[in-house]
C-alpha cells in the first residue's frame, strides 16, 4: 500500500469510528490532519494508541496556536497534537479548538505520560487548562509571572518595563529586597542627566531607579 493510500485509509477509519465528531479530515502538506470536537479529545487519542492496526504509540508533540482576531473568541485557541506510529511509519495531527474566559481541554496524561510537562508548557504559554492533570502549574516561567506570553495580545516587550521585579521568591511568595546603603535608589537630583530621548520616557521603575 502506498503512502498516500495509507494516509487516506487512516482518515477514513477515524471518520468511520467517530462520525460527526470529526469536523474535518484532510491531508495537509503530507500530514493526515483531523479537526475534532473537544468532547472526544481524550477518547480519540486513546483509540489511536490502542488500535491494533494503527498503534500510534509514539507521543511526538503537543502545542497550541492562538488565532486572535482571525476566529471567534470562543474558539480562538487550538491545541495541536502530533502522534507517530512506529509499525506503519506514519504520523497524524489532531486539532482541538477551545477558547472563552477559561479555556479547557481534557488532559492526555492517562494516555501518554509524556504530556506531564508538555501540557504544563501549553498552560504556561496560553493559559489553556488541562482537566485531570495533577500538577497544572507553570513550567518555564516563574510561578508569579503575569499573563500568558504566547497569546497574541501579550506584547513582545513584556508587561513590565525593565526586567523582572526585584526580590526573591521563596515558597511562591515574593520577599522584598532589603534596602541597604548600596541598593537604596539615588534621589533624582543625584542621578546622571538623561539624554533628551530618555527624558521623554517614563522611569524604568516605579521607584525612579534604573533597571
Amino acid at each position: 500500500m502506498s503512502n498516500v493510500e495509507l494516509k487516506t485509509k487512516l482518515l477514513e477509519d477515524i471518520k468511520a469510528q467517530f462520525g460527526d465528531k470529526i469536523l474535518s479530515a484532510k491531508i495537509n502538506y503530507d500530514m493526515p490532519q483531523v479537526e475534532i470536537d473537544p468532547e472526544i479529545h481524550g477518547e480519540i487519542h486513546k483509540w489511536l494508541k490502542d488500535h491494533p492496526e494503527w498503534q500510534f504509540n509514539h507521543f511526538t508533540d503537543i502545542t497550541g496556536v492562538d488565532y486572535l482576531g482571525k476566529r471567534d473568541d470562543s474558539e480562538r485557541f487550538e491545541v495541536i497534537v502530533h502522534l507517530h506510529s512506529l509499525s506503519k511509519n506514519i504520523r497524524v495531527r489532531t486539532k482541538t479548538r477551545t477558547g472563552g474566559e477559561n479555556p479547557e481541554v481534557q488532559s492526555l496524561i492517562n494516555v501518554y505520560i509524556g504530556s506531564t510537562w508538555t501540557e504544563r508548557e501549553v498552560y504556561d504559554m496560553y493559559g489553556i487548562k488541562f482537566t485531570d492533570h495533577p500538577r497544572m502549574t507553570r513550567l518555564l516561567n516563574p510561578d508569579d509571572f503575569e499573563g500568558h506570553p504566547l497569546r497574541k495580545d501579550f506584547p513582545v516587550k513584556g508587561l513590565h518595563r525593565g526586567s523582572f521585579p526585584k526580590g526573591v521568591v521563596i515558597n511562591n511568595k515574593r520577599r522584598e529586597p532589603q534596602v541597604t546603603r548600596q541598593t537604596r535608589p539615588k534621589p533624582a537630583d543625584q542621578m546622571l542627566p538623561r539624554t533628551p530621548v530618555e527624558q521623554q520616557r517614563a522611569p524604568l521603575r516605579e521607584d525612579g531607579g534604573d533597571a
Binding site: H58, D61, D66, L86, G114, W117, E121, L140, N141, P142
Partner: protein, 404 residues
C-alpha cells in the same frame, strides 16, 4: 550493584516524607551540565523523590520568532542546542523550504548531510566525554576536545563563526564552499577513527565504568515511547527508529549506513549507541565527501534567495529582488507544516504555521530534550546520588534546547 544492597537494608516506608533530607541538585551544579534544578528528598544516599524544575534558561524563542523573518529565525536556532548548532540551522531551513516547496541542488543536500553528521559526531563526543568525566575518567574528555577544536576551525573557515554558526539560507547555502572543504573533511576523519579506538580502549571495556553504568536508570521501550523519547536514548531501549532511515530528508537515502540499537535502555546502552553512531557518521561523511557533486550552491529561486552582491550593483532586476527580499521578506503561502530531522539528541521537529506574511504566524520547536528530560522524576527515583549524576549526563539534555 550497590543499589540492591541498600534496597534490602531499607525496608521501612516513609509516611508523609518525614525525616528526609532535602537536597537541591542544581540549578548551578557543575555535574548537571546546564541549568536544571532537581529537588531531591534523600534518605542517606538514596533518592526517595525528585521534582524537576526547569525554565532558568528560557529565552522565549517561540515568541521572538513570530516577529522575525524566515531567514532571521536561523540565528535563533543556533542558540537552541549550542553543542551542535548547525544541525538546528539545517532543520529550520528544511522546514521553510518544505513550506515554500523548494527543491535544492544535490550539492547543497550533500553538504548539509556532511555538516549534519559532523555535528552529530561533535555532539556525541561531548556527551560521552562528559559521561566519562562524571564517572571519574577525565582523560577521554581531553582526547575528544582536541578533535572538536579541529572541526571548529573548519567551521570558522566555512561560515566565519565557531559556535553561533548561522549556517545556510532558505534555498541553499549562504555562500559557496571554500576551496579546500572536501580535503579538510576527509583529512579530519582519520584522527576521528584513531581517537575513537583510543577511547574504546580507555572506557568501553573498563570494569569500573561498566559497573557504574550497567543496569542503572534503565527504561523499557513502551515507557520510553509513551514519554516521547527519540534519538539515541530511544534506540538504546531497542526501538529501531531513525528519521534518516524512516523519513529520509536531504538525500539520506543515497548513503549506506547502519542504525545501532541497544537492548535494556540503561546508561551503558546509551553510551554504546552513541559510540557506534559516531562510527556510522564517519561512514556517511566519507561517502558524501568522496561523491560530492558539482553544481550551484543554491536553488534557482530569485524571489527567495538573495542575488550576488556584484549583480545588485550592476543589474536592475537583481537590485529590485534584493530590495524586495530585504524589505518585504519571504512570504510563503498559507499553510502549516511539520518537519522533523534526526538531530544528535533525537527528533528535532519544527511546526510552522504561515498566514502568508513575512513572519511565521506560529513556530513551535519540538525539542527532543524536553520529552526525555521529564522522565528524570521516574529515572532518578530510588537510585543513588552518584547514579543520578551519571543518568543526567547520559541523557544529554541541553538547557538551551530544553527551554528554548
Amino acid at each position: 550493584m550497590l543499589k540492591h544492597v541498600i534496597d534490602q537494608a531499607i525496608v521501612e516506608e516513609y509516611p508523609g516524607n518525614k525525616d528526609l533530607y532535602d537536597l537541591n541538585l542544581g540549578p548551578a551544579h557543575p555535574a548537571t551540565h546546564g541549568i536544571f534544578d532537581n529537588r531531591c528528598k534523600l534518605d542517606g544516599e538514596r533518592i526517595i523523590e525528585v521534582e524537576g524544575h526547569i525554565g532558568y534558561c528560557h529565552r522565549s524563542f517561540e515568541k521572538l520568532s513570530e516577529h522575525y523573518t524566515y531567514n532571521q529565525v536561523i540565528t535563533i536556532t543556533d542558540r537552541m542546542n549550542y553543542v551542535s548548532s548547525m544541525a538546528n540551522n539545517i532543520g529550520w531551513v528544511l522546514t521553510a523550504e518544505k513550506l515554500l516547496g523548494i527543491e535544492v541542488p544535490k550539492l547543497v543536500q550533500y553538504v548539509r548531510v556532511i555538516i549534519f553528521e559532523i555535528n552529530r559526531i561533535i555532539d556525541h563526543l561531548v556527551c560521552n566525554g562528559i559521561l566519562g568525566v562524571d564517572a571519574g575518567a577525565y582523560t577521554g574528555f581531553l582526547y575528544f576536545f582536541e578533535l572538536r577544536e579541529d572541526i571548529y576551525q573548519m567551521f570558522d573557515k566555512m561560515v566565519g563563526a565557531r559556535l553561533t554558526t548561522n549556517f545556510g539560507r532558505v534555498g541553499g547555502l549562504d555562500r559557496p564552499l571554500y576551496p579546500d572543504f572536501q580535503k579538510d573533511v576527509l583529512a579530519w576523519l582519520e584522527p576521528v577513527r584513531k581517537t575513537m579506538k583510543e577511547f574504546h580502549i580507555l572506557l568501553t571495556r573498563n570494569r569500573i565504568f561498566i559497573d557504574r553504568c550497567k543496569d542503572v536508570s534503565a527504561i523499557s521501550a513502551e515507557r520510553a515511547l509513551e514519554y516521547g523519547f527519540s534519538g539515541p536514548n530511544l534506540r538504546a531501549t531497542g526501538v529501531k527508529y531513525d528519521l534518516r532511515k524512516d523519513e529520509p530528508y536531504s538525500s539520506y537515502e543515497d548513503f549506506d549506513f547502519d542504525v545501532p540499537v541497544g537492548s535494556t535502555g540503561d546508561i551503558y546502552d546509551r553510551y554504546m549507541v552513541r559510540m557506534i553512531e559516531m562510527e556510522q557518521s564517519v561512514r556517511i561523511i566519507e561517502q558524501a565527501a568522496k561523491n560530492l557533486p558539482d553544481g550551484p550552491h543554491h536553488a534557482d529561486v530569485p524571489e527567495i534567495y538573495l542575488p550576488e552582491k556584484k549583480d545588485v550593483y550592476s543589474n536592475m532586476e537583481a537590485m529590485i529582488r534584493h530590495f524586495k527580499i530585504i524589505m518585504h521578506g519571504i512570504c510563503p503561502p498559507e499553510g502549516e507544516v511539520y518537519q522533523a530531522v534526526e538531530a544528535p539528541n533525537g527528533e528535532l521537529g519544527f511546526y510552522c504555521v504561515s498566514d502568508g506574511g513575512p513572519n511565521p504566524y506560529r513556530l513551535h520547536f519540538r525539542s527532543p530534550c524536553l520529552y526525555f528530560y521529564q522522565s528524570v522524576e521516574e529515572l532518578l527515583k530510588d537510585g543513588l546520588i552518584a547514579d543520578a549524576i551519571l543518568t543526567l549526563s547520559s541523557l544529554n539534555a541541553i538547557a538551551g534546547e530544553l527551554e528554548r
